[in-house]
């Protein structure tokens, strides 16, 4: 995905709204532009989950298709709600919101709230931003769908630091108890949280053993490898009688040289113009594209 030729971006990925153009690179660029425009936002965790989000949006959801509001649609909940710049960018790629709207992130009156709000954007499925809650809500959706006889599936993405919330393990017990095989959790395991490495804040390991012990079908994968991602989601879909968790090893700040592996870029930070220029160059955006953003003509 990242190997795409320089300059191709603005003509394909960033222009045609169709599920075929939801790429991780477009999500990363959209997320960074929106965070720069907002003057705040969480870049690190938005970049780490971009490959996973691109796959989910393009393959597991019916975004952009006619049945996007069907009661039997597959659902996706971003439980790590602070990574919503990536979610919004994916939605813009799918045509759910105008691309130009990404630049209204966190601004008064914008539906692109600092954390996702379902009353503003129905396709975020539930309001998130307080860690652990989106996971429980997703479990409730999976139970509700089963109760009404629907075969729809529910996907929920959690951060690794989020797993320190006790509510997550209440939910993990519950989903296994009810054998919710229509539920698939994805852990964006970038090893870092707000202040420091998970290991220094509150260690999570052995993480896969924990999920397995809680009764889940757990799969470890490289969360930046499209082939590994596709295989993991196939394995989750094929699993019967248990919920699945995909423990995706990722890199915080993935794709931007100075952010990768730096906890500093977890938090809600201001991206300077120079920061953004470097990041966009790292991601292969053309000079024309960057110039159009700074001149205010992008997506006009």
């Amino acid at each position: 995905m990242r190997a795409k030729a320089l300059g191709a971006l603005e003509t394909t990925e960033m222009t045609e709204p169709s599920s075929e153009t939801i790429t991780a690179r477009a999500i990363r660029i959209g997320a960074l532009l929106s965070i720069h425009s907002a003057g705040s936002g969480h870049p690190g965790g938005s970049l780490s989950c971009a490959d996973l989000l691109a796959f989910i949006a393009a393959n597991e959801l019916k975004w952009g298709e006619a049945d996007a509001t069907s009661p039997d649609r597959n659902r996706f909940v971003l439980s790590k709600g602070h990574a919503c710049p990536a979610l919004y960018a994916a939605a813009a790629q799918a045509g759910l919101i105008p691309r130009r709207q990404l630049l209204s992130l966190r601004k008064r009156g914008s539906p692109l709230q600092g954390h996702p709000n379902v009353l503003d954007l129905p396709w975020v499925e539930t309001s998130t931003g307080s860690l652990g809650q989106g996971f429980s809500a997703a479990i409730g959706m999976a139970m509700g769908l089963r109760h009404r006889g629907s075969r729809a599936r529910v996907y929920v993405m959690l951060g690794d630091g989020e797993l320190q919330e006790g509510e997550v393990w209440e939910g993990a017990m519950c989903a296994a108890h009810y054998r919710l095989d229509n539920l698939c959790a994805v852990v964006d395991y970038n090893k870092m949280q707000s202040d420091d490495l998970n290991a220094n804040i509150m260690g999570l390991e052995p993480l896969q053993a924990k999920w397995t012990a809680f009764g889940w079908n757990s799969v470890e994968l490289d969360g930046h490898d499209p082939k590994a991602i596709a295989e993991a989601f196939d394995a989750a879909r094929a699993c019967r009688g248990r919920p699945s968790v995909l423990i995706a090893h990722t890199k915080k700040g993935r794709g931007v040289s100075y952010m990768e592996g730096m906890p500093l870029w977890h938090g809600s930070v201001r991206l300077s113009d120079e920061d953004l220029r470097t990041a966009l160059a790292d991601l292969g955006a053309s000079e024309t594209f960057v110039a159009s953003y700074f001149s205010g003509t992008l997506w006009r």
Binding site: T126, Q133, G134, S136, G144, L145, H147, R148, C174
Partner: protein
């Protein structure tokens, strides 16, 4: 003068009927066929909340979530998003434990979830302070989009259960642990957002909710022997509050006493005070638990010790009246 009546006051424990929680559990069974879209969530306390009746009658619509209230609350928000109407049932204190889940996953997205809490107030009795929730009305009233209801007797619980089911949006409703006196006539009709005048009076209004409604009626009877005419209002919906009725009470009687089995901070007294301060200021006295925790004991003993009886309400009415005369 009324203080002197303490010694000779009749024991007004009254005929014990169903508890409010039992009435709630039975109402759910009654409503099940007519309203196929509701489900009941429980956190291993069905016998305590009354929903064991529903579990037995409709196991297909009963979901056991274990002792994990935070997950249950947020899960209810997601369950509601699929078109069902979940009743979240547990003790009131455990609703506080899941308050933030109720805030973000129920109230903020306006989910059609009904939170029904048993074991509120000193009415809990012997379990003591850990279980006696004195803060729930204040906490849930502060959540935007959340309606707050506290019915007075088994009849009203049954009617309110159907009314909150028909209301499209999040609701917090209190039931109660102990056997409750019947205070409402058979022709009583609950209406969400409306208070009801149970007894007319000229000199003072006694506004109560939950178990304190019966005690407010006791107080009105005591006051009448002193030549004081008290209007009694059952304000079973604390939010949205019945502004018109409260303004009418303040204007007609000139002073108001509130009574609740809850902290005097932020509950019924707070709600009435906020309303009257804006629309019809009048001398007020607040009967409730005065910013302390409870303790083990029988509910009536605790009501005596913490100042929640009819006598206490009557004494508060005298204080309010004397302030009205001075002003």
């Amino acid at each position: 003068m009324i203080a002197a009546m303490r010694e000779s006051a009749p024991q007004l424990i009254g005929s014990s009927g169903d508890s409010l929680r039992e009435a709630f559990g039975k109402a759910l069974v009654e409503l099940a066929d007519r309203y196929p879209s509701f489900v009941v969530l429980d956190a291993d306390i069905a016998g305590g909340t009354g929903v064991h009746h529903f579990r037995k009658a409709r196991p297909d619509r009963f979901f056991q979530l274990g002792i994990a209230e935070q997950n249950m609350m947020a899960l209810a928000g997601g369950f509601a998003a699929t078109g069902a109407i979940p009743f979240v049932t547990t003790f009131a204190v455990f609703c506080l434990r899941a308050l933030e889940q109720a805030r973000l996953s129920v109230a903020y997205p306006k989910r059609n979830v009904k939170i029904v809490a048993s074991h509120p107030g000193l009415d809990v009795g012997p379990d003591g302070a850990s279980a006696q929730c004195l803060e729930d009305l204040a906490a849930f009233r502060a959540l935007p989009n959340m309606a707050v209801v506290s019915p007075a007797d088994p009849l009203e619980v049954a009617q309110a259960t159907e009314a909150i089911l028909l209301h499209d949006g999040p609701v917090y409703m209190r039931t109660g642990r102990s056997p409750a006196r019947r205070v409402l006539d058979a022709d009583y009709r609950f209406a969400l957002c409306r208070g009801r005048v149970l007894r007319e009076g000229r000199d003072v209004t006694l506004v109560a909710c939950g178990v304190e409604v019966a005690r407010a009626l006791d107080a009105a009877a005591l006051l009448s022997t002193r030549g004081i005419s008290a209007r009694v209002v059952n304000l079973s919906t604390l939010k949205p509050i019945d502004v018109d009725l409260l303004v009418d009470c303040a204007r007609r009687t000139g002073c108001v006493v509130t009574a609740e089995d809850h902290s005097i901070i932020g509950g019924l007294g707070g709600a009435v005070a906020e309303t009257l301060a804006s629309y019809a200021p009048a001398p007020m006295e607040l009967v409730g638990v005065r910013d302390v925790f409870g303790e083990s004991g029988e509910p009536e003993e605790l009501a005596q010790a913490y100042g929640l009886t009819g006598l206490h309400i009557a004494e508060a009415a005298e204080r309010a009246l004397s302030r009205k005369r001075r002003s």
